[in-house]
């Protein structure tokens, strides 16, 4: 499209959208969050067809499209310790926020780790925050354990786990 052909000013229209809503987690996630909040336990479901351990639990297995019934044998408890599969270092916000011009430069961010809690199989991956901010001390395969918030601060959220701490050998 040509510009500058004496069409007059081209304007911008300021805009704002706000929304508030309430959202239940759904049956399986609800139960997982309740167990996390009240008992510091991680519960996953196992697909009865392909035996994948799904954490967070899903009501339909994503690979074989089988509906996972709410039966006792389909639930498996995972451990509070796990193995780090991989991680990435967070250096800051990817882009400058266009509305505020804000860019979090120079801050230290905790790395995001991909953790397989004990009891999971090769399909179980949980993305969560790691405590260790120095990436040279992290490597795939290192053992980590969940550090929970105090009981009175837990709200039934994924952040009820504060972070995952490197497990010292022979702890």
């Amino acid at each position: 499209m040509k510009t500058g052909d004496n069409q007059g000013d081209l304007l911008r229209v300021p805009h704002r959208i706000t929304l508030t809503w309430r959202e239940p987690a759904g049956l399986f996630l609800n139960r997982m969050f309740l167990k996390m909040r009240d008992k510091e336990e991680l519960w996953a479901v196992k697909c009865p067809s392909c035996r994948r351990v799904l954490f967070p639990p899903e009501i339909v297995c994503g690979m074989c499209k089988v509906r996972i019934e709410d039966k006792k044998e389909n639930w498996v408890q995972l451990g509070n310790q796990g193995t780090l599969i991989n991680f990435y270092k967070v250096t800051g916000s990817r882009e400058v926020d266009p509305s505020t011009g804000w860019h979090p430069r120079g801050q230290t961010f905790n790395p995001i780790g991909f953790i397989r809690p004990d009891g999971g199989n090769e399909w179980t991956v949980l993305a969560h925050i790691l405590e260790e901010t120095d990436p040279s001390k992290l490597y795939p395969g290192i053992r980590v354990r969940a550090i929970w918030k105090p009981k009175e601060e837990r709200q039934g959220l994924m952040s009820d786990i504060k972070f995952w701490r490197i497990l010292e050998e022979k702890e």
């Binding site: 706000t18 987690a25 709410d70």
Partner: protein
């Protein structure tokens, strides 16, 4: 069927979303806004196929997808087609409640323009009320350069 157990607590999270942004008005809408700003004129655009006049003007007819470029001036007066009295505050609203949103069919236009209705008591509002545009003194090229629409002095018999 998966159903929750009877004594199971149901967690509900409160979520909110807030986004402040701007978008380019485009050539057609920019002309509409600059005419309000500079000349206190409200422009419509005519579709030659449908013979309909759209206010605010748009570059494409929403009925026949024709490319539109026949600007014409529509009246500063119009008729209230419907209205809504707002009592709940939202951050993106142009005014503090209570205020009135109206859909106004300007004279010469074939669709309604959403704008504020002012200088009118809620009990005097009715569909078919004749209103006229009140322009602000300081105009910046926004649809809110029209302060609101107020009832015309001559009442319909």
């Amino acid at each position: 069927m998966n159903i929750p157990k009877e004594d199971e607590e149901i967690l509900v999270s409160e979520r909110n979303f807030d986004s402040i942004f701007s978008y380019t008005a485009g050539r057609t809408r920019s002309k509409f806004l600059t005419e309000i700003r500079d000349n206190k004129k409200i422009l419509g655009i005519r579709c030659p196929n449908c013979n309909l006049v759209w206010v605010p003007p748009r570059s494409t007819c929403i009925k026949c997808f024709a490319h539109l470029k026949d600007f014409l001036e529509v009246g500063k007066t119009g008729t209230v087609k419907t209205y809504s009295i707002i009592n709940i505050a939202q951050p993106f609203y142009p005014d503090k409640p209570p205020f009135i949103f109206g859909v106004i069919q300007l004279d010469g236009a074939d669709n309604g323009l959403v704008h504020l209705l002012g200088e009118v008591e809620p009990e005097d509002l009715k569909i078919g009320l004749r209103v006229e545009a009140v322009f602000k003194e300081e105009r910046i090229g926004s649809i809110l350069d029209i302060k609101h629409f107020k009832p015309t002095a001559i009442k319909r018999s």
